[in-house]
């Protein structure tokens, strides 16, 4: 019998808690071990095509519909791109207001992800009963009061975005040259109070991670274990001092040893990044252009790179605020230095970033310029071309527009955060599946540990999940060569 005829398939379909759905196919070989695994994104909407012909200043209001879970990231990348198209510099207060808005966006996303998606695996355990392994289970274990704090601080972050942007989901405040309106002193005070509270909440969250995860040897072994480790390049935005920045800066890439491989202006991204197409998924695969697409392989000879919280910390020399810097140093000293390749450490990195976002929010809320009414510069140059880049909660996000002299869009290119991680997610899933599924034995707890591999990336496919009780539902079919089910596992 040929090898192909005996291959069996494990299909994890549909994966819920993924934006636009997702599907994992795991193929087993004759021995029942994992031959290969595919992570498919079965959805496409085609913004690159239908945004052509639109007035470019409308793109900050159109492109957030790419993702309703990180619309703030698309809105800001798009606002920066239209500044560049019109060659206009927003006034200092407008830039600060954008960054303040953006810190709130990060806070909303990171709180939701950590508490609803990541915490169930660690607070309750990766092999816990699925009926309890959700945010309700977390609340039951850590206390109702903490559940209330989680909801409260996520709601603060949404309120701040709505105050500035009109709506938290699909904000409207950014346009070429600045912001649609300033904030007043009352609003500033409210933001400052919410920021102060959020700094305390970030401290609490880091302490919780320390107590629940780091003090449990079993969890630390899982986090640092080989099946969740992958050597790759990393990419992220850094400021002038090479500190993590979400809103602006240069793009820095480090190699698997942590050495600087490239550092470039966002506008030069096409010299450094290209995208590969596979026929079995609607999402493309970005890679480092100077190395090339070498397939789904690890290491320094492969162009695969990673983005998102751990990548941002790996590329930076530190954090720009004191408590976040302390947390950053604690993380790397505990884990034995940089870079860290353990994918699950993304959860810790996310909390370090939550601290930075909260501290920076507080700084900006106390900035004497933040209530300045000067938040718009009227463009005067002829529009032509521009690139806008921000760090979305899930990684580096690129918007690139070209227009005619009237400012009507002629060409548009988008590389989204989860796209950057697409190859790495596929590889992490395969590696986890290979380590956990042996001789055809597939149990529910093991499958959850396969899912943990991609949950660490917080794929934007699944961003919104983060706020409600939920669990990853799975149906696993193991079939023989005729497609007849041999084993069915579901939860």
């Amino acid at each position: 019998m040929s090898k192909k005829e005996t291959i069996r398939t494990v299909i994890i379909d549909p994966i819920t808690r993924l934006e636009g759905h997702g599907k994992i196919d795991i193929f087993l070989n004759d021995a029942g071990d994992v031959e290969n695994a595919y992570f498919q994104v079965p959805e496409l909407r085609g913004f690159e095509e239908f945004c052509r012909g639109r007035p470019v200043e409308e793109l900050p209001r159109i492109t957030p519909r790419i993702c309703g879970v990180c619309p703030g990231a698309h809105h800001m990348a798009s606002s920066k791109a239209v500044d560049a198209v019109f060659h206009v510099e927003p006034p200092p207060a407008a830039k600060k207001l954008r960054e303040l808005f953006y810190c709130a966006h990060m806070i909303h996303s990171h709180i939701a992800h950590f508490y609803a998606l990541a915490a169930p695996d660690f607070v309750l355990g990766p092999q816990a009963d699925p009926a309890e392994r959700n945010i309700l289970g977390v609340v039951a274990k850590v206390g109702l009061e903490i559940g209330g704090e989680v909801i409260k601080h996520r709601a603060y972050a949404q309120d701040i975005q709505a105050m500035i942007g009109g709506k938290a989901t699909h904000p409207v405040c950014g346009l070429p040259g600045g912001m649609s309106k300033p904030i007043d002193e009352d609003e500033r005070k409210q933001i400052q109070e919410m920021a102060e509270s959020t700094v305390e909440f970030a401290k609490f969250s880091l302490q919780l991670f320390n107590d629940v995860v780091l003090k449990n040897k079993e969890y630390v072994d899982i986090i640092l274990g080989n099946i969740y480790t992958m050597q790759s390049y990393y990419m992220g935005l850094v400021d002038g001092n090479n500190k993590v920045n979400f809103y602006e800066g240069d793009i820095r890439v480090v190699d698997p040893e942590g050495k600087e491989f490239a550092k470039f202006k966002p506008a030069d991204y096409l010299d450094h990044i290209s995208e590969h197409v596979e026929p079995w998924t609607y999402l493309k695969f970005p890679y480092l252009k100077s190395i090339g697409w070498k397939g789904f392989v690890e290491g320094r000879d492969s162009g695969v790179f990673r983005v998102a919280p751990l990548a941002r910390l790996n590329v930076a020399d530190g954090m720009a605020t004191p408590l976040a810097q302390e947390a950053y140093e604690a993380m790397y000293s505990t884990l034995g230095g940089k870079p860290v390749h353990a994918t699950l450490v993304n959860h810790w990195a996310r909390l370090v970033e939550l601290m930075y976002a909260a501290e920076r929010l507080l700084e900006l809320s106390k900035d004497s310029e933040i209530t300045s009414p000067e938040v718009r510069t009227i463009p005067t140059a002829t529009p032509d071309e521009g690139v806008g880049v921000v760090e979305a909660p899930r990684g580096t996000l690129f918007h690139h527009y070209k227009t005619d002299p009237e400012g009507m869009v002629t060409d548009l290119n988008l590389i989204v955060a989860t796209g950057n991680n697409h190859a790495a997610i596929c590889m992490s899933i395969k590696k986890a599946a290979q380590g956990l599924i042996k001789q055809g034995k597939v149990s529910e707890g093991l499958l959850n540990m396969v899912e943990m591999a991609f949950r660490a990336y917080d794929p934007c496919l699944g961003c919104a999940t983060h706020a409600l009780p939920g669990q990853m539902p799975l149906v696993v079919q193991i079939r023989d060569k005729d497609g007849l089910p041999l084993q069915r596992i579901e939860r």
């Binding site: 290969n36 209001r61 519909r65 409600l468």
Partner: protein
């Protein structure tokens, strides 16, 4: 009394409608008191087989967000229609096609060509495009079929109620949930929003005079925060858009783009808006009026921003 059975589903959408449901915060616990959520892919357990196994009409209410863009979404829309007593088009994409239906200016072929070939960062020397069935060394992988044309939910299955908005605001979501929970549902076909136009709830001052000599783009001026956008020459979709949103964008000093769809009794939002723009021009000369209105850039993408699928046009001829 038995608990109600709810289903929430998403199709061609961004997830923002699901986040809007989450934004009702602690009220979600009240919902859990009166209803069992049998399906909510973004947040809860979901198995196709379970939905298929449900008896017909056993789900009390299905909130369906997103437009219908591919074969899987159409399948789920039909399946959920059969299983649900009441189908609610939730959000602008399900109601009118939404921003995804701007893709109806193009075709599948041109979208694939653009995304997988022509985009600046794509390297695709062998012209590889995603396939509905794809052989791989270990077997075969499948993807849903991507359609040429995006449709609103009502263009695929019968729909009882509409909750518009991109995303729907929390107060309207609560209104809809209360109506469902208490069984006090409005007549079939109703839209859960205002019956009036947005201008009626917008607090900006209007002179009711024809004032426009030239339409301006939002980047060209810093608009007065108290005055009607249209009277400042900035295109605002208020006169052709249903109210009920709380004028959230106008309060942020940005004009409406029409996400609540056409007001009661209006079939085509874009046609209504074009007529409204013409009526604002400070001229009695039809030629001059046509000339000034003709200066509006991208009328299709502006006046049908959220509703190309449902418009009389439906799509641009390939």
């Amino acid at each position: 009394m038995d608990k109600l059975k709810f289903a929430v589903y998403w199709a061609a959408s961004c997830g923002g409608c699901d986040v809007a449901i989450l934004d009702i915060n602690e009220k979600i616990l009240d919902v859990a008191q009166v209803a069992d959520i049998v399906l909510w892919p973004i947040a809860l357990d979901f198995k196709y087989k379970d939905v298929e196994a449900l008896p017909d009409a056993s789900v009390d209410v299905c909130l369906f967000n997103g437009a219908v863009r591919n074969s899987e979404q159409e399948h789920m829309a039909r399946l959920l229609r059969a299983k649900s007593k009441v189908m609610v088009a939730f959000g602008s994409c399900a109601c009118f096609g939404g921003i995804p239906s701007l893709a109806n200016v193009s075709t599948r072929e041109r979208i694939f060509q653009r995304v997988y070939q022509d985009t600046l960062s794509t390297t695709n020397p062998d012209t590889v495009f995603p396939q509905t069935t794809c052989p791989v060394p270990e077997g075969e992988l499948e993807l849903p079929e991507f359609y040429d044309t995006v449709r609103s939910l009502e263009q695929v299955i019968p729909v009882e109620y509409f909750v518009p908005g991109c995303p729907p605001p929390v107060d309207l979501i609560c209104t809809a949930l209360d109506a469902i929970a208490t069984g006090q549902l409005p007549p079939v076909g109703s839209t859960i929003a205002s019956e009036k136009i947005l201008c009626d709830e917008c607090e900006r001052e209007r002179s009711e005079e024809k004032t426009v000599r030239q339409f301006k783009r939002p980047w060209q001026i810093i608009p007065d925060r108290e005055k009607c956008f249209l009277e400042q020459g900035i295109i605002c979709a208020g006169p052709g858009t249903r109210g009920g949103c709380g004028a959230r964008c106008m309060k942020a000093n940005m004009p409406c783009r029409g996400c609540f769809g056409p007001p009661l009794g209006v079939r085509d939002q874009g046609a209504k808006l074009l007529a409204a723009m013409a009526s604002l021009v400070d001229s009695e000369d039809p030629t001059e009026i046509a000339e000034i209105v003709g200066q509006i850039k991208d009328p299709l993408g502006t006046f049908y921003r959220f509703g190309l699928a449902n418009s009389v046009l439906g799509r641009v001829k390939p």
